[in-house]
């Protein structure tokens, strides 16, 4: 708007200044022919405005060619337009030359702050924009304290200005300062609150509700900076895992602003009745007109929000020098009245009187708005500590509201309602604890409905979960001390039963919620006393919990969400397993098929094994179930490059190493169970059956290893099983020879496969094989393979890298000798 004007002026001037005047004085000599044309032609010559006074070479200038100093001087010009232009010019300079701001920061602010209380609206607005978009963003890295303190004096004086507009603007400026440097609120809190108080006291001047709204928005921003939020503290403690480098070092000095919290709380207490009366002023408006306008509704909401914040701060007791609320459970606060004496019941009584705001025949949107106001009021009420002492009629009124709003939520299922009900949910546990049992069951009933009907990935569900956590995990709250009555137990069981289904419903879409559910489940598992009806209920959860891991349906296995979730959530789920006091085989079945899933990380398989082993040790799994779990895992584990071709040298795509590790873990677990010979006796048949079954080479190898781990010397294998094994052993050996090729690289692997069979050889399997005529024939048919096997055996013996003990070496040697003798016999016997 401004620029084009000045340009047009300039162009006019230029026309006048450089007008060519033609004069005919006389004839001139014609120029010589060899003369050089010295004329310089240009389309236009632009000269910026000139200043005769100063030399500006090398100085930063604005578009109009003014230096910063001149512009600053102009800001106090008596002409409004000049002042505004000067501000715009400063903006130009600072944008073009950011270095200027760094150099003259303090000087600029020192001069500009005078304009905070400027009489003209436009100037103030320009100044505001200047601060907002240029100066503050440019100073974020500096020490902001001095800047703020420079400005504050003028802001305060503007706040007490006669003109109401100036005051409003001053609040806006302060708002800006707080946004820019939040600690500044706590420094000036007392004064600011005083100013807000004065301002709101005169709210009669504020006919314009939009202005009131702005002021209140600023107030809310300030109040939300009060250190009042208990939950934030709580989560901070949880997340604040060790950040110190050195444990025994001194703690770093925390730069803590000195906050006179007691002064603030006094001021806040003064502010409260003013806000309440302010709210009341809207009452006639609401009651008279059937359709309250949007502005006043917003105002009312802001007022309630600020009351809510103030009450929250005062009640949390941070103002006193008491330890933080999370250190002591609420009931432990000795002098409950000490905090609430700030809030005499009379103070908020007016507010309670108008509750609930009830308007007849409203359209949907207005109803929502009023509902919102009501929920905020209810929240304020619930925040108070001494509401139990308040009159029963009042209490009834609120309880009725809570119950009805919870149940209307179910009926309408509106997103809007849900959003505004959210803040009420955290108070449900407190309510359930302190009210009479009649009301308790009503409230809990409504709450349970909300929990069950809210959509799985909504924030409502999360809020419900944390409320349930508080009510279920006893020692974290006060329920622990009170004999929980049976009705509560029923609800607790109902909530708990919902959890596994919820997990399956959530799938992997909302990991946050899944995590919360699992944490809750873990927490419940930890806290259930052994042999109580509650723990039985917990055990029955496993039937639905199994679906979380995997499910068997008609066309194969359907993996549950577990496989797809992140590692930390999986870890939580695995930890839950430990707390089932009994695990049935069906559940183990679903676990094992989950373990066999290729997508599952090997680490998780190991963790499942570890936790199950602990559970077994604690007597939560029966012996037969546990051992069959382990053997099934070994026999059905899917090792994916079945034939190892020498081309794939790196183990990148194979999970053989994992399987080897799993095998060794299973072996060590089984050997830890107890007396080896007993375990062997019980497992022999099962393992031998599995070996003889349709299993792959790797699995056979693992099972043979398992057998040998448990076996002792001389072997305790029954003759029957030796015969059985010998049937497959030949095939196994040929498999090894044909699958595992020659080569240095393969040497190690081949040894891994061969080793168990050598052990078996040494223990009479061989002789049995020989005695069995049938086997002999089979052996004869694969004579060549045996030959190469023998060669391998020799290689193995001679290879220098072997780490076999002497004893083992000797055994292999004898086995080799025996084997050779037999093959020689065969060769001789059957020409």
């Amino acid at each position: 708007m401004v620029k084009p004007k000045s340009q047009s002026k300039k162009s006019q001037k230029r026309g006048v200044d450089f007008k060519k005047i033609r004069r005919k004085i006389g004839r001139k000599l014609p120029p010589p022919k060899n003369a050089t044309n010295t004329e310089i032609k240009s389309k236009a010559i632009v000269l910026p405005e000139q200043s005769i006074a100063s030399e500006k070479a090398g100085l930063a200038v604005s578009k109009k060619g003014l230096t910063l100093k001149e512009l600053l001087q102009q800001t106090s010009h008596h002409n409004i337009k000049v002042r505004k232009d000067a501000l715009l010019g400063i903006r130009d300079i600072l944008l073009k030359h950011p270095a200027e701001l760094k150099l003259h920061k303090l000087a600029i602010i020192e001069k500009l702050r005078e304009r905070i209380g400027d009489d003209d609206k436009l100037v103030r607005e320009t100044l505001y924009q200047l601060f907002k978009s240029v100066i503050f963003p440019g100073c974020t890295k500096d020490n902001q304290g001095p800047l703020v303190s420079l400005m504050m004096a003028y802001i305060f004086s503007a706040m007490t200005h006669l003109a109401i507009d100036v005051r409003l603007m001053a609040f806006k400026f302060f708002d800006l300062v707080v946004q820019f440097h939040p600690p500044s609120f706590s420094l000036y809190a007392e004064k600011i609150l005083q100013n807000y108080e004065d301002m709101l006291r005169k709210n009669k001047f504020l006919e314009d509700t939009s202005k009131l709204k702005n002021t209140l928005a600023g107030l809310i921003r300030c109040l939300s900076l009060l250190p009042s939020n208990e939950k934030e503290d709580h989560s901070a403690v949880k997340n604040d895992i060790p950040t110190h480098d050195i444990l025994h070092a001194f703690e770093p000095e925390v730069a803590r602003e000195p906050i006179g919290l007691t002064d603030i709380s006094k001021k806040l207490k003064d502010l409260l009745p003013i806000l309440v009366s302010c709210f009341q002023d809207f009452m006639p408006l609401v009651n008279s007109t059937p359709q309250p306008d949007l502005q006043s509704c917003d105002c009312m909401q802001f007022i309630l929000q600020s009351i809510d914040l103030i009450v929250g701060f005062l009640v949390s007791g941070i103002c006193g020098s008491e330890p933080g609320p999370q250190a002591l459970p609420p009931c432990q606060k000795r002098d409950i009245t000490a905090y609430d004496q700030f809030l005499s019941p009379m103070l908020l009584k007016k507010l309670w009187d108008v509750f609930p705001l009830n308007l007849v025949h409203l359209s949907g949107k207005d109803e929502d708005r009023i509902f919102m106001l009501n929920t905020v009021t209810a929240k304020i009420f619930l925040q108070l500590r001494n509401w139990v002492c308040s009159s029963s009629a009042l209490l009834e009124k609120f309880l009725e509201f809570v119950e009805s709003s919870l149940s209307t939520k179910i009926q309408s299922g509106k997103v809007f309602h849900e959003k505004h009900l959210l803040p009420l949910i955290p108070y449900i546990p407190k309510l359930a604890m302190q009210i009479s049992s009649d009301w308790r069951s009503r409230i809990l009933q409504a709450f349970t409905e909300v929990f069950k009907n809210s959509s799985p990935d909504s924030s409502m569900k999360l809020a419900c979960l944390s409320a349930i956590e508080e009510m279920l995990a006893p020692e974290r709250s006060w329920l622990y001390l009170h004999p929980s009555d049976p009705s509560l137990l029923d609800y607790q069981i109902a909530w708990m039963q919902d959890l596994p289904l919820l997990l399956i419903l959530l799938d992997d879409k909302n990991p946050l919620c899944s995590k919360a559910v699992l944490r809750l489940l873990l927490c419940v598992g930890q806290a259930t006393p052994v042999h109580s009806p509650f723990s039985q209920e917990f055990d029955t959860l496993q039937y639905s919990f199994g679906g979380f891991f995997s499910k068997q349906n008609e066309n194969g296995i359907c993996y549950g969400p577990f496989v797809r979730l992140a590692a930390d959530i999986q870890e939580l789920a695995i930890c839950c397993l430990y707390y089932f006091s009994f695990m049935d085989s069906q559940f183990l079945q679903s676990l094992i098929s989950c373990c066999l899933c290729d997508d599952l990380k090997p680490y998780m398989v190991l963790r499942i094994l570890e936790v199950l082993h602990s559970a077994f040790r604690a007597g939560h799994i029966q012996f037969a179930d546990y051992t069959s779990f382990l053997v099934t895992l070994l026999s059905r584990f899917h090792v994916y490059p079945v034939n190892i071709c020498p081309a794939v040298k790196d183990d990148g795509k194979s999970n053989q190493r994992t399987f080897k590790y799993v095998t060794s873990i299973v072996c060590s677990f089984l050997s830890q169970i107890g007396d080896d010979s007993l375990v062997f006796q019980m497992l022999e048949e099962m393992i031998v059956d599995q070996i003889c079954g349709e299993t792959l080479m790797d699995n056979k190898c693992a099972l043979l290893r398992l057998l040998i781990t448990l076996d002792s010397r001389p072997t305790r294998l029954t003759a029957q099983s030796i015969v059985k094994i010998s049937h497959v052993l030949a095939q196994y050996l040929t498999d090894i020879v044909s699958n595992v090729r020659q080569g240095d690289h393969e040497e190690k692997r081949r040894r891994y496969y061969l080793l168990p069979s050598f052990y078996l050889f040494s223990c009479s399997v061989l002789l049995h094989m020989y005695k069995d005529v049938k086997i002999r024939q089979i052996l004869l048919t694969c004579n060549i393979e045996i030959g190469s096997l023998l060669q391998n055996l020799l290689n193995l013996l001679s290879s220098e890298g072997t780490n076999l003990t002497l004893e083992e070496r000797h055994k292999i040697q004898t086995a080799y000798d025996q084997l050779r003798a037999i093959t020689n016999n065969d060769a001789v016997g059957c020409p």
């Binding site: 444990l247 963790r607 602990s614």
Partner: protein, 451 residues
């Protein structure tokens, strides 16, 4: 001269082995002991106590606590608590034994009388380990439900304050998700740190003063045992994979380690899992028991094994290093004591007594660790003592007044005598000074005359 001995027990019934830590000489083997993890303790070095869990079919409550005196291999005292006890711990003076039951209760007995002083419900599931802090005012328990709780003994015996507090524990730490396997405390009374290990593969360091977690160390394997370096620079964590990991407490975070954050290194020689750890008083020797029944002694400075003891074939569940006075030079012992050893205290009682029964407190002088010291305390009966106390409490009683007057009188006489004495001395001094002065002037004048 004290020697350090290593004692070890296992969950199968193979007794308690005992070796000299520095010479490797094997001492007596105490018979019939099958103790669970953390179920072996030495009561102030006077005798051994161990909890027993046997799978006997006859009775459901098959747990017991047994005492062995140092000199005899047989069990001397058997007590049968109300439920099987897993961990037991005794304070350094040997006045109390605390035991953790499988139902989550903690029992607190007085050793000398065997009285059950207190029993409280501590955890939801079985208590897995118990430990006193170094000033023995706090008892720290870990349980199968994954919680670690800190109990103040003052609070537990203070009925009035307990009512007020609503819960007994000082702190309850819930961050572990699985069974807590071991807890150890550092030095510094209630400002110490504690380290807990759990089956969730982590060890966590907590601050007792702030009641919050300080550090979380994730290991590559489940940790079953931890041992704290006396200087609290590092702690050792024995894993199920057979390695003993060294985790830094005071070092800055090292991210370049092979094992994970905070883990500086590992001692590895065990083929099977490490089940228990103990360290010598100077912290230079670390003793570890393993699943394979071997007990290895490590030098923590060189990180080498310096000695191996063989306990049994099965796993070792407990290893303790205790200081023991040399008993070989026991000529000064009274013959009766030498023959029978010191008499052991009575068995621990099953149930807490009615408080009314303790109207007359029995006065007991606990057996002393050094038997050659004579007991020369004067004997006064409890009744007389109580009477005297009562009298002293009543300021106005005639007897007390009489005693007072008597005392004042004697004091007065003494002070009068004192005054007399002082006067006399003053007189003498005065005399002496005057005579000296006179003499001096006399001689001076005499010398003047001489000149």
């Amino acid at each position: 001269m004290e020697t350090e001995v290593v004692i070890a027990s296992s969950p199968t019934d193979v007794g308690i082995s005992c070796w000299d830590l520095h010479t490797g000489e094997e001492h007596l083997r105490y018979k019939s002991c099958a103790s669970p993890s953390h179920g072996l303790t030495s009561v102030a070095g006077r005798f051994l106590a161990s909890s027993q869990i046997r799978e006997s079919k006859s009775s459901s409550s098959s747990g017991s606590i047994q005492y062995w005196s140092w000199s005899k291999p047989q069990v001397e005292v058997r007590s049968f608590p109300a439920e099987p006890i897993k961990p037991v711990v005794s304070n350094s003076q040997g006045t109390y034994i605390a035991g953790g039951g499988v139902s989550g209760d903690i029992y607190f007995w007085e050793v000398a009388t065997g009285k059950l002083l207190k029993k409280w419900h501590a955890h939801y599931r079985a208590v897995s380990c118990l430990v006193f802090n170094d000033d023995e005012s706090l008892l720290i328990s870990g349980a199968e439900d994954g919680s670690v709780r800190v109990w103040s003994l003052f609070l537990i015996f203070d009925d009035a304050r307990r009512e007020e507090m609503k819960h007994l524990f000082e702190y309850s730490f819930h961050e572990h998700s699985l069974r807590v396997t071991d807890v150890k405390t550092g030095y510094g009374g209630s400002n110490a740190i504690i380290v807990s290990a759990s089956e969730d593969r982590t060890c966590k360091v907590w601050s007792l003063s702030k009641g919050k977690i300080l550090r979380n160390v994730v290991f590559p394997s489940i940790i079953d045992a931890i041992s704290l370096d006396p200087g609290e620079h590092v702690f050792y964590a024995g894993g199920r994979d057979g390695k003993i990991y060294i985790a830094g407490l005071n070092s800055p975070v090292t991210s370049n380690s092979n094992y994970g954050l905070h883990i500086i290194g590992a001692l590895s020689e065990h083929s099977k899992g490490v089940t228990c750890l103990a360290s010598s008083a100077d912290g230079f020797l670390l003793v570890s028991g393993s699943e394979d029944g071997m007990i290895r002694v490590w030098d923590t400075r060189t990180r080498n094994i310096i000695r191996v003891f063989r306990h049994t074939k099965g796993p070792v569940s407990n290893v303790l290093v205790i200081r023991q006075p040399k008993r070989t030079s026991s000529t000064s012992l009274a013959p009766a004591v030498r023959r029978h050893g010191l008499p052991l205290p009575p068995p621990l009682e099953k149930f807490a007594n009615n408080p009314d029964e303790n109207a007359y407190v029995k006065v007991l002088i606990g057996p002393q660790t050094l038997p050659n010291q004579l007991l020369d305390s004067p004997y006064i009966s409890v009744q007389t003592m109580e009477a005297q106390i009562k009298e002293l409490q009543q300021q106005g009683s005639s007897a007390a007044a009489e005693v007072d007057v008597e005392r004042l009188k004697s004091e007065q006489v003494r002070s009068v005598q004192m005054i007399q004495q002082w006067k006399k001395m003053y007189e003498n001094l005065h005399q002496f000074c005057v005579s000296e002065l006179l003499e001096g002037s006399h001689t001076e004048s005499a010398s003047g005359q001489n000149l």
